[in-house]
């Protein structure tokens, strides 16, 4: 069963995965190519770190985009058929969802491996000044985790019903309304800030997206 679900998953998301793989492979190479070429001044460490840091912001963006698109592709055909086919298959529902999830994770292995290969290649070809080090494996692992978290979040949202999506949007809207009312009433209440603190810092769910996405660092 897994192989047919994987096949269908691949068919739905192959273009997304292909583009993501190319981007994942190219990103590390492009980020180092200009700043760490052999003929560059090896003392230009600051410039190298600046370049790496600015390109590094694209990794979480790529992870989020890939996770979102593959999750949408996972469920779009079922949504179109109102899930009748899935619900009428002779296997427990949790197993079907798990198979879908696993198929999505499997196709996402491509971009992860691409980032790793690109990072290894980039650090091997670059002239890294003394005192700085390449972190291709660390970067690829962080990317893998971020991609999986993004995929899992959007997978859960896409697998839910319209009612679930409505609840989520309702909660967000409620937070916004409370914030506005507090602002009008001159009450110091920074809900968004507190929420961001919880979500974006460890052990929050999105903490893996924050921090330093540096292929080369001290």
């Amino acid at each position: 069963m897994y192989h047919v679900i994987l096949y269908s998953q691949w068919k739905w998301s192959r273009l997304i995965v292909l583009l993501g793989t190319i981007a994942g492979f190219a990103l590390p190479i492009i980020s180092l190519q200009g700043a760490a070429a052999a003929d560059r001044n090896p003392l230009a460490a600051q410039e190298l770190l600046r370049a790496v840091q600015s390109w590094g912001t694209l990794y979480p963006v790529l992870a989020t985009t890939l996770g979102l698109l593959v999750a949408i592709a996972t469920w779009a055909p079922d949504h179109r058929g109102r899930h009748i086919h899935a619900l009428s298959l002779p296997l427990p529902r949790w197993r079907y969802v798990l198979l879908r999830f696993a198929a999505g994770v499997t196709v996402l292995a491509g971009p992860i491996v691409a980032v790793l290969l690109g990072a290894v290649l980039a650090t091997a070809l670059a002239t890294i000044p003394p005192g700085l080090q390449g972190y291709p494996l660390a970067l690829a692992l962080r990317f893998a985790l971020a991609l999986l978290v993004a995929y899992a979040v959007f997978f859960a949202v896409s697998a839910g019903t319209t009612r679930t999506a409505g609840i989520i949007l309702g909660v967000i809207a409620a937070v916004i309304v409370v914030q506005i009312v507090a602002g009008v009433a001159n009450v110091e209440l920074d809900l968004w800030g507190k929420l961001a603190l919880v979500i974006l810092n460890w052990p929050g769910p999105l903490a893996v997206f924050t921090g330093r996405w540096m292929l080369v660092d001290v």
Binding site: P42, A45, V97, F101, L145, V153, T161, A207
Partner: protein, 361 residues
């Protein structure tokens, strides 16, 4: 006839000589007048400062904690509590010299941040809003200790008065990054273990020069490009700038030498020198600060060594050791972060499984 030449020469020259004398005398009188004006202006400024000081402290409370004196208007600020927390830090930093702070009070004007009533301008002291937390007040007191300014040589080298740090470990992290990333061979060699390069990078050499700080053409070119593009890439220097970026070392050197005195960036920033001073004071005990100020005619390196009570090389070695040990944490995620991230993946996947669509009813 010959005998008449000299007196005749002198007679003919006398009007010119007397005219030259009067010009010199005029210039001398003008200079004296200007000096006098300057002294009078200074005296007026000193008087104004002391009047301002009197105005600032009159009618205010004085809080005494250890040798700290805080003069402030009545307000909700927890100044005493902040002083109690700040005093041990200040005392351990300055040692016996901290007792001198009894003659140099903090002048604080606390104001209500929510009022729109205009306030008179404050020329002396600090304005602090009422709603500042005790934590922030402690940091404020530590970072603005009203210590007497050091001598000009030390102040010029350090870039300011000698004050404690609010986050010494973070300072060392920043210095580590500088050692690795500064476009200076001296900094790089210091990172790799050469103490003489550390002395050079920290500006302890007796005669700091462009060649001493940036010995290679590559460094000089890198310095011009990274720090002075905006400054040189227009006007009269644009041709030399482009020549420098194209690879001409003489152009780069010429540009750097043309900088005003004191503006050539040192290989390491001010925080590197601050960490060195802090280390010297820490090693030297309670008299370290007095010793640092005492030898004002000696080179800075010798003064720091005297303050620390060790040789300059030992001081630099210890300083380098601490900076290297302060290497920032690597970008790799710690193992527990993996567990948390994978845990969240499992939780969200479980949410997908548990969606009401996939549960019967």
């Amino acid at each position: 006839m010959c005998n008449l030449r000299t007196p005749l020469f002198l007679l003919l020259l006398s009007p010119a000589l007397s005219a030259q004398d009067s010009v010199l005398a005029k210039l001398q009188r003008r200079a004296d007048s200007l000096a006098g004006e300057w002294r009078r202006a200074n005296a007026v400024a000193d008087l104004a400062d002391s009047l301002e000081h009197e105005r600032a402290v009159t009618g205010r409370d004085t809080i005494a904690v250890g040798a700290l004196r805080i003069v402030a208007n009545p307000s909700p600020l927890p100044l005493r509590e902040a002083g109690v927390r700040a005093w041990p830090v200040i005392d351990s930093f300055y040692g016996r010299a901290a007792q001198d702070l009894a003659q140099r009070a903090y002048i604080i004007r606390a104001f209500d941040p929510d009022t729109t009533v205009p306030r008179a301008r404050l020329h002396v002291g600090m304005e602090v809003p009422w709603n500042m937390t005790e934590e922030s007040l402690v940091l404020l007191l530590i970072s603005n200790v009203p210590v007497a300014p050091p001598d000009a040589a030390l102040q010029e080298w350090l870039g300011g008065p000698v004050r404690p740090s609010v986050n010494a470990s973070q300072d060392r992290v920043g210095v580590y990054v500088q050692l690795v990333t500064a476009p200076s061979q001296a900094a790089r060699s210091c990172f790799q273990g050469r103490l003489d390069s550390c002395a050079l990078a920290l500006g302890l050499a007796t005669a700091p020069t462009l060649e001493a700080w940036y010995p290679s053409a590559a460094e000089r070119r890198s310095l011009v490009i990274t720090a002075f593009t905006d400054y040189f890439d227009h006007g009269a220097t644009v041709a030399a700038y482009h020549s420098c970026t194209a690879g001409s070392d003489s152009a780069c050197t010429g540009l750097l030498r043309s900088l005003p005195k004191g503006t050539l960036p040192r290989p390491l920033g001010a925080d590197a020198r601050v960490t060195l001073v802090h280390l010297a004071l820490r090693l030297g005990g309670r008299e370290a600060y007095h010793r640092l100020l005492a030898g004002r005619d000696a080179p800075i390196g010798a003064r720091l060594a005297s303050a620390a009570g060790v040789s300059q090389d030992s001081l630099l070695a210890r300083w380098r050791e601490e900076v290297i040990a302060a290497r920032p944490s690597a970008v790799a995620l710690p193992p527990w972060a993996f567990l948390f991230a994978l845990g969240w993946v499992a939780i969200f996947a479980g949410c997908g499984l548990r969606s009401s669509r996939w549960r019967v009813g």
